[in-house]
């Protein structure tokens, strides 16, 4: 047991521990006492999650920065687990007193008292830092962000006279977390998160179209402020808006679809990712339940969820239960080999946690969630993949998606797509929803490109009303016979 932060942990972990000790007097001995309160009843496991998050957002529209918001979120969540039962209480008062009170509420799921041994906090922390930064994004002066947004506005308006509106916003977050658990775990982390959003409106005669592009991740805000980076992003938003001014009606029905690299990886997130989360499989409510070891994708398809990629939006040093994140192979050469687990579901299924226990905030229960989910590259040239399709759809950018875990049916909505005619890219078509069946869609992946790309860092995944930042990635792939929800029969 130790009260100092001199262990072999990363600078981020040390800074976070020092922060909670200095600002809120959260020392190991007092954390252990709060956990002891929960364990006075017959409880298998209890944990405390302290959070202190500052988020600021500055937004421009109509050529001026109209708003600045700063939000401070702080609190503690206390959980007690017994078997499949969870007792959970949270308070927005970040203190040991409220942690103890909440522990008293959380333990109410068990009636029997217990003679447990006192919790011994054993100092642990992530030994790596996937997101080392020198300046917290929330410490970058607001004036700099205002100046930057004005520059973005001028640049966008100067690009094309059909651009009639520009909306841009920069969101900066710095989150401190501390997890302490009855098994002695004590882990802390500091998580930066930045994001730039640019939306333009293009008008031509009576037609209007929006183009959106965003980028972000766990890195210095200065990286986004590099003109080479944000100008590319603005150019992209403008290109999409202008392209959609020309878009024709989208075809309807089953057809061969080529997905471009990067963000179209949302296919994996919806079609198979959620279905491979431990909770649904432990309860056997997923279309993928009991399919471990079976073929769920074509040969050559390997899908991983990797929370350890430096600087990515979906990356974490440790998950929200203190388990270090890792690279988890979900599908290997077409065979289902693994699920994503948090502690509760891993324990009940008799497997190890995989570092996927995540929560939106102290006010939410941890759940098995994705981090960065992508398909490994194949060997084909993207041009050859397009050439292989006689008549179909080439979809390169998407909005959101959704899945019904139980039936396996999933959708994702294209925001930039083209007809493919005789192996060539044809006219752009209006956005349309694509729908498929998770357990078999990857068996119809017939070609895989060598051009794996990860997305720009804008994904937020929703589950049980909780949003968490995630990433996706995909090489160019061909999927045979996917249903495209256009209007042209």
């Amino acid at each position: 047991m130790s009260n100092d932060a001199s262990d072999s942990t990363s600078p981020a972990s040390e800074r976070a521990l020092a922060f909670f000790q200095d600002e809120f007097a959260l020392h190991d001995r007092s954390l252990a006492t709060a956990l002891d309160t929960a364990l006075e009843r017959q409880i298998d496991y209890a944990d405390l999650y302290f959070e202190y998050t500052t988020t600021d957002s500055v937004a421009l529209e109509e050529g001026i920065v109209k708003s600045g918001d700063r939000h401070l979120e702080q609190g503690v969540g206390v959980r007690a687990i017994r078997g499949e039962r969870q007792g959970y209480a949270h308070s927005d008062d970040l203190s040991l007193d409220s942690a103890r009170l909440a522990a008293g509420t959380a333990r109410a799921i068990a009636d029997e008292t217990s003679g447990h041994a006192p919790v011994a906090i054993d100092s642990r922390g992530p030994e790596r830092d996937l997101y080392p930064i020198s300046t917290a994004p929330t410490d970058v002066p607001v004036a700099d962000k205002v100046g930057w947004l004005n520059e973005i506005d001028r640049y966008a308006r100067g690009k094309d006279n059909r651009i009639s509106q520009v909306m841009a916003s920069v969101v900066s977050q710095q989150k401190h977390v501390l997890v302490a658990a009855s098994d002695g775990t004590r882990v802390a982390d500091v998580l930066p998160l930045v994001r730039l959003n640019v939306q333009v409106l293009a008008a031509d005669g009576s037609r209007r179209e929006i183009g959106y592009q965003g980028a972000g991740g766990r890195f210095e805000l200065a990286d986004l402020q590099d003109p080479a980076r944000w100008q590319t992003l603005v150019d992209e938003a403008i290109r999409i808006a202008l392209l959609n001014l020309e878009a024709e009606a989208c075809p309807a029905g089953a057809m061969d679809v080529v997905l471009g690299p990067g963000w179209p990886g949302i296919l994996l997130h919806e079609a198979i990712g959620h279905g491979l989360e431990g909770d649904f499989n432990r309860k056997k409510t997923s279309a993928f339940s009991d399919k471990l070891g079976q073929r769920v994708a074509a040969e050559g398809v390997t899908v991983v969820d990797d929370g350890t990629i430096p600087g990515r939006r979906g990356s974490l040093n440790v998950d929200d239960e203190g388990t270090p994140t890792q690279r988890n192979v979900l599908i290997e050469d077409g065979i289902l080999v693994g699920y994503m687990q948090d502690r509760l579901n891993a324990g009940l299924m008799g497997v190890a946690p995989t570092g996927n226990g995540r929560r939106e905030s102290y006010a939410h229960l941890p759940l098995p969630r994705m981090t960065n989910t992508f398909m490994l590259a194949g060997e084909e040239e993207p041009e050859d993949i397009l050439r292989s399709v006689d008549n179909g759809l080439y979809a390169v950018s998407f909005g959101g998606g959704q899945v019904d875990i139980t039936s396996g049916k999933f959708v994702f909505s294209a925001s930039e797509a083209y007809r493919i005619e005789n192996g060539r890219i044809g006219a752009p078509v209006k956005g349309a929803t694509l729908i498929g069946n998770g357990p078999d869609v990857l068996t119809r992946v017939s070609r895989i490109g060598h051009d794996l790309a990860l997305d720009e860092g804008v994904g937020t995944c929703g589950k049980d009303g909780q949003g968490v930042p995630v990433g996706v990635g995909l090489p160019t792939i061909r999927v045979d016979a996917l249903t495209v929800g256009g209007t042209e029969g």
């Binding site: 209007r208 989208c250 256009g486």
Partner: protein, 457 residues
């Protein structure tokens, strides 16, 4: 369950924040304080899966300072209500506002504040004393009823009961300072059914300001069970154009999407396909849409909006004619119109225009009668995905439902999309049913769109 402090103490915190903002140099300020006490319990099978309890408070301070050509605005929010924290946050809001551009339209409203706080039947004090065990019992009854309704129901995502109590206090530098309390109680059940290779889930829920007005727990479970069992054996249909009937669960999403296109912010930003259509016929004459913030017992009811303005009844669409935008003070000033009392606001940001209790006026006919009138078409019972573009009206969503031939349901349908353009769909609404059931802040009876593209095999 209770809200711990007397309302006077909370009002004093709001006054302190207003004073501190003024001291720091704010020309105008307004403050929102929200207190909540929430509880959720979920039962799955015979087991209590989780019990969740929380009391929270949030304070949002909007400070406006005088700039060269207008006011500069910033919002700071926190859950720390200690006096020194409140003072610090108010000063921070003023400092932040000085960095923001002056906007000639910014500012809190000058007049129109609620002069009385009518009792809108938003809670029953007796419900505060309901025990956790009683709500666990409700969830158990719903779960048991769902699980025993049919042998093919062998699993579930569980049945969940929730209670929430809230107090909202709003004050501004014009001297307005009022509060109101509300409650929300719910019961939700989501069973799974299996038949051969087909596994399906569906749900039913009941929500009310009063515990006593919730549907009977066993009834919730039975309705959820009936909805899931009828989905077993679902298949795709060939791509076609047919009449599409939206049931009372899915029709509200269409009304909600239309409403996002008459929101004042989308209008001045020119990002709505309806931006230049005020006064025009935008829907069939069967379509009358109302937003009423003072519906007694309504899940969206409140005596004043997020800027202290008296809430009211706004007719948005009357017999197909577009009659009103949805406006807060800012969007109103941008469009040269008064606010419609529709400022929606949490503690975390500036007000925005939003709806309260929004509904499509009912017509005639039960859902069975509406099904009986269709020769060949689709009844949509679930929609997934976000495939709607408010700027163009283009609409394309994933759907599940029931296939209709000669006025009768012949089989369930899944893995299809329905697509069209909302502008055309609204004009093609040729039937509106009678059933209006509130499960949230937006409700609609079943409605039929004469023709849409269904994409399948």
């Amino acid at each position: 369950m209770s809200l711990a402090d007397p309302v006077e103490n909370m009002k004093a915190i709001v006054e302190r924040a207003l004073d501190a903002a003024k001291q720091a140099g704010a020309t105008q300020a307004d403050v929102m304080l929200v207190e909540s006490d929430d509880r959720e319990v979920r039962v799955r099978g015979d087991e209590v899966e989780f019990v969740k309890q929380a009391q929270e408070r949030g304070l949002g301070i909007r400070a406006l300072v005088e700039g060269k050509d207008g006011l500069q605005t910033a919002v700071v929010s926190t859950s720390d209500l200690a006096p020194d924290a409140v003072d610090r946050m108010a000063a921070e809001a003023v400092a932040l506002a000085r960095e923001i551009a002056p906007d000639p339209n910014a500012g809190i409203p000058e007049s129109g504040f609620a002069t009385s706080i009518p009792d809108l039947d938003l809670f029953d004090p007796a419900d505060r004393s309901v025990s956790l065990d009683a709500r666990i019992e409700d969830a158990k009854q719903a779960e048991a009823a769902a699980r025993s309704a049919d042998p093919r129901i062998d699993n579930s995502e569980g049945s969940q009961a929730s209670d929430g109590f809230a107090r909202i206090i709003y004050g501004n530098s014009h001297g307005f300072l009022e509060s109101y309390e509300s409650a929300s109680h719910g019961l939700f059940s989501e069973p799974l059914a299996r038949d051969g290779d087909s596994m399906q889930r569906d749900y039913w829920m009941t929500v009310s300001r009063h515990l006593s007005r919730l549907e009977d727990p066993a009834e919730v479970g039975r309705k959820a069970a009936a909805r899931v069992v009828r989905r077993l054996g679902a298949k795709r249909v060939p791509t076609c154009e047919v009449p599409v009937l939206f049931d009372a669960m899915t029709a509200p999403s269409l009304i909600g999407q239309l409403t996002s296109c008459v929101n004042g912010y989308s209008i001045y930003r020119e990002s709505s396909f309806l931006a230049e259509r005020m006064g025009d016929t935008i829907a069939s004459d069967l379509v009358t849409i109302i937003d009423d913030g003072r519906l007694p017992g309504g899940l969206g009811s409140k005596p004043f909006d997020g800027e202290g303005q008296a809430t009211r009844r706004n007719v948005l669409v009357d017999g197909g004619r577009l009659e009103s935008w949805i406006l807060d003070t800012y969007a109103g000033r941008k469009l040269g119109l008064p606010t419609t009392g529709s400022a929606s606001r949490g503690t975390g940001g500036a007000p925005h225009a939003g709806t309260t209790n929004l509904w499509l006026e009912p017509g005639e006919g039960t859902i069975d009668e509406l099904i009986g009138e269709i020769d060949r078409g689709l009844l949509v019972t679930e929609l997934i995905g976000m495939g709607f573009n408010p700027t163009t009206g283009d609409y394309s969503r994933g759907a599940a439902g029931l296939w209709i031939e000669n006025g009768e349901v012949v089989h369930p349908v899944e893995e299809i999309t329905i697509a069209g353009n909302l502008g055309e769909m609204l004009l093609q609404i040729d039937r509106v049913g009678s059933e209006l059931l509130w499960r949230g802040r937006t409700a609609s009876p079943p409605l039929r769109v004469a023709r849409m593209t269904v994409a399948g095999e």
